[in-house]
Symmetry: C2
Subunit: 367 residues, 2 copies
């Protein structure tokens, strides 16, 4: 193997595929990056079996070949080399030389035969979506996945396509996050993608309107963008029927400025931190919302103007769940739909109908 | 107590004195900030006994008084309040109210009688120096203090004034850092300041030419800048006679571009990381310096142009010590003064004579 490549291009490729090299595998070969040089192109691959990332770049290939190199060390070397042409070539049966200007590294490489084969996916593209939108949908749901493994399916995000709409859903038993976008497809899909791999995917997606093509197989999802292919294993099992959790009716509706509400809850949460209850109490009145909290160190009272449709209500929440939602939302005005102090609270944008958040209240001793 | 103050001014004061509240003390009162309101001024104090910081601000004081409030919670509350006038007043014997717009916090306060009295220092200012210069001198030496406590005096930085020159010195048994500035004073001082408190001091100093006034007592040093007073305990004991460690003669002298040398050593260090030896070998030749390193994963060879006066030499170092020094230095060109492969290496600026760094070599098996 022998090729030459501009440092910035090489660095970008290595950094991209490195995201799949988690260092958690017991297989030493998965600590490496597979480099395949052939006809004017080089293919880089990183994988932890759950998630695999491939990136193709154009380059001057003098002699084709395949090697596996330690991902961390290789990435650090490329990053530190001068911004110039980097030459990489095998110099004997088990080592390669990386050279750039007056720098010369000789690195042991691993046997590429040991590198696991990636699942073969024929790209019958199911749908295509601008990167920016998918990135936003992931960001808007992933925080609500379950942190512990007691119900593995809840550590993932549901990708559901039906009725020409893509829905991403995550829930952890205390709250639910649903983001939706219209989609021009007749397909019906129901697949759950591990939250951990999805978080790496969202780091690779950019904020542009350029498309990412998505393909599903029974066990995998493939994201294809530009010269990058990301393959993630799907989680086994059935996702919870989330539509039955989201109440379709409500008896009162609160309209509030999102950032003002967020600021008030964040301040109230400062007092709730003691003892880790995170408890904040909401007193919903005719024209104002009063938020209170207390701990051994003191009390806090916050007040903001709202528009209430329905009867006043007192209800309490874990402040963390409200804060997570209000921080991730984007519109200026939000709507809270409530029924009683023990039923779920729905939070939506007052404008666009592209998200539904559900937060369970905390039952107070006197309620 | 009852006063009103603009949020930004209050926040600045609280953040400054909080730096002395380390939360490591066993005395609960030291987790608090002492607030003294009197004639149009408020004095904030934080202390962990080793380091005390006082900051005075002007403010509308309606009723004088003194309280101690939990530093962390108070700082978080002030930070999260809207940018507006904040009112603080005692509302009963053990609590205060903080209010701003529609936010109201009621906080338990601690008994200010329990707050330890700060050492009384009469300010017979010994010298005055621009903040920017002192900050730079601290940054340029503090990294060489000893990390472990086996010789407590080495965890500090020596402030030495003699011959109209201020010298800051730190050393840890493997390397030494010395920064010097001319000073218009006849005083002679020899005091060692704990590295930990000095690092907080340097965070408060800004990059301006405004002066900081410095006063010494037998047990303390006082830094006075604008409305802020920082008092640090001095370390007991005699500092090592550092001048006898620094060789006054050398047999070869290397002149190199600092950033080029740093880049080469940083890259070479990537290979030396394996097994944590950090070893890099320098081959000093007539017109070039060759740097090599190796580990189980491979080898590296770096080369850069230098000017050598004297005979060629091979010498090895812990790369970390060279990197620390070359990163902190500022000039374009550095000079290394060497004698043999087992004697200390001196690193200086090629221009200004304001710093002397010493690094001990690593003895190689074959040398």
């Amino acid at each position: 193997m022998y090729f030459k490549c501009e440092k910035s291009i090489l660095q970008d490729a290595v950094f991209t595929v490195q995201k799949a090299v988690t260092g958690k595998s017991t297989m030493p070969i998965l600590g490496g990056i597979l480099i395949k040089a052939y006809d004017g192109e080089i293919l880089f691959t990183g994988s932890d079996l759950d998630l695999s990332i491939e990136k193709k770049i154009s380059s001057e290939v003098i002699e084709p070949g395949t090697v596996v190199i330690d991902a961390k060390l290789f990435g650090e070397i490329i990053r530190k080399l001068p911004s110039d042409i980097i030459e990489i070539k095998t110099i004997d049966s088990n080592s390669i030389q990386i050279s750039c200007q007056k720098s010369k590294f000789k690195l042991i490489h691993m046997n590429s035969d040991e590198f696991p084969e990636l699942p073969h996916i024929s790209e019958n593209m199911i749908f295509s979506i601008p990167q920016r939108i998918l990135k936003n949908m992931i960001k808007g749901t992933i925080f609500a996945t379950a942190a512990d493994d007691s119900r593995p399916i809840l550590t993932g995000v549901l990708f559901e396509i039906k009725d020409k709409r893509l829905n991403l859903v995550a829930l952890d038993g205390y709250r639910l996050a649903l983001r939706s976008e219209n989609l021009d497809t007749e397909n019906v899909i129901n697949a759950v993608i591990p939250g951990k791999t999805l978080s790496e995917v969202s780091k690779i997606l950019d904020d542009s309107d350029r498309s990412v093509n998505i393909t599903f197989t029974p066990n995998n999802i493939l994201f294809h963008l530009n010269q990058t292919k990301i393959t993630s294993r799907l989680l086994d099992g059935e996702f919870i029927k989330y539509t039955s959790i989201i109440p379709s009716e409500y008896s009162l509706k609160v309209t509030a400025k999102r950032l003002e509400l967020l600021d008030c809850i964040e301040r109230a949460a400062l007092m709730g931190k003691e003892g880790n209850t995170n408890l904040v109490k909401l007193d919903i009145e005719e024209e104002s919302l009063v938020i209170t909290s207390n701990s051994q160190l003191g009390t806090v009272r916050e007040e903001l103007n709202i528009i209430l449709q329905g009867q006043p209500l007192q209800i309490a929440f874990n402040s963390k769940y409200l804060i997570d939602v209000l921080r991730i939302m984007e519109e200026e005005e939000v709507i809270m739909e409530l029924t009683s102090s023990v039923s779920p609270c729905i939070i939506k944008n007052s404008g666009q109908d592209n998200c539904t958040y559900l937060v369970l209240p905390v039952r107070l001793l006197n309620s």
